[in-house]
C-alpha cells in the first residue's frame, strides 16, 4: 500500500472515531445536562462522518487500487495527490474548530477560518477529481 494511501486511511479512521464522539455529545445533550449550544455540533458530526471518514476512505483506497495511470507514473500526479490530502484534512479540521463558534456568534469571530475551510475542501474535492479522472479507464 503506498504511503499516501496509508495516510488517507489512518486519517479516515481518526475522523471515524471523532465523528462518533461528536455524535455521542450531540445525542447525550438530550438526556444529561449539557449546554444546549452543543446542538450546533450536528453539521460537524455529519461531515466528520461523510467527508472525514467515508469520502476520505474512498479516496485512500481509490488512490491505492484504481487502475494505474502509467508504468512510470502509476498514481497520477503525486504532488497533486498530497495537496489533496493536506487541503481536505486541514479544511475539515478548520471547519470543526470554526463552525460551532460561528454558529453561536461567539468571540473571537472565526468566520474567516470557516470561509477558508470551505475553499480548502472545495479545492481538495476538485483536485481529487482531476487527478483521478485519467485513472478511471479500461485496461
Amino acid at each position: 500500500m503506498p504511503t499516501l494511501a496509508r495516510w488517507y486511511i489512518k486519517a479516515a479512521l481518526i475522523y471515524f472515531v471523532l465523528a462518533l464522539l461528536a455524535g455521542v455529545i450531540v445525542q447525550a445533550r438530550t438526556v444529561i445536562d449539557l449546554p444546549s449550544r452543543l446542538a450546533v455540533l450536528r453539521p460537524v458530526y455529519i461531515h466528520l462522518l461523510t467527508v472525514g471518514w467515508i469520502t476520505q476512505l474512498i479516496i485512500g483506497v481509490g488512490y491505492w487500487m484504481f487502475p494505474k495511470f502509467s508504468r512510470d507514473n502509476p498514481r497520477g500526479n503525486e504532488r497533486l495527490a498530497w495537496a489533496t490530502f493536506i487541503l481536505l484534512n486541514l479544511g475539515l479540521a478548520l471547519r470543526v474548530i470554526s463552525e460551532p463558534q460561528v454558529s453561536v456568534r461567539a468571540t473571537p469571530d472565526l468566520s474567516w477560518m470557516l470561509a477558508l475551510s470551505a475553499v480548502m475542501q472545495l479545492v481538495a474535492g476538485w483536485l481529487f477529481v482531476i487527478n483521478t479522472w485519467a485513472r478511471i479507464k479500461e485496461r
Binding site: 461523510t50 467515508i54 469520502t55 470561509a115 470551505a118 474535492g125 477529481v129 483521478t132 478511471i136 485496461r139
Partner: protein
C-alpha cells in the same frame, strides 16, 4: 476496469465535485453571508454527495471487482443490461430529485426521481446477486 464501471465511477466523481461545490457555497454563506437562498441547495448537496457520489461509486466498484463467470461468453454475467439500466436510472433519478427539490412546484418529479433510484437499485441487485458466489462456481 469494465466500461460500465468507468462510466459509473466517472459520473460519481462529477457528482462529488459538484456536491462539494454546493456544500462550499453554503459554508461560505455561513461564514460571510452571501445570499440566504443558497441554503435551498442543501437537499441537492445531500442528494449528489450521498446517492450520486457514495452510492454510485460503490455500485461502479462492485461491478468491477465482484466475482465473474469464467465459462460465460460475458464474464460479468447474463444480465449486464440490467446494470447499464441501473446506471441510467440512478443518474436520471439524482437529476430528477435535484430538480424536484429546487422547484417545489415539481414535487411529482421528486417522487419520479426516487422511484427511478429504487428501480436502479433493484436492477443492480438482480444483476449482482448471482455474482456473489464461491470461487469457480
Amino acid at each position: 476496469m469494465p466500461p460500465l464501471s468507468v462510466y459509473m465511477v466517472r459520473a460519481a466523481l462529477l457528482h462529488l465535485g459538484i456536491g462539494f461545490t454546493l456544500g462550499a457555497l453554503m459554508l461560505l454563506d455561513k461564514a460571510i453571508q452571501i445570499d440566504p437562498d443558497l441554503w435551498r441547495l442543501w437537499s441537492i448537496h445531500v442528494e449528489l454527495t450521498l446517492v450520486g457520489w457514495i452510492v454510485q461509486l460503490a455500485m461502479g466498484v462492485a461491478f468491477w471487482i465482484m466475482p465473474r463467470f469464467a465459462r460465460l461468453p460475458n464474464r460479468y454475467g447474463r444480465r449486464t443490461s440490467f446494470a447499464w439500466g441501473a446506471f441510467a436510472l440512478l443518474n436520471a433519478g439524482v437529476l430528477a430529485v435535484s430538480i424536484g427539490t429546487w422547484w417545489t412546484a415539481l414535487d411529482t418529479l421528486l417522487v419520479i426521481g426516487r422511484a427511478a433510484e429504487l428501480s436502479a437499485v433493484g436492477l443492480f441487485v438482480v444483476h449482482l446477486w448471482p455474482r456473489i458466489k464461491p470461487p469457480g462456481a
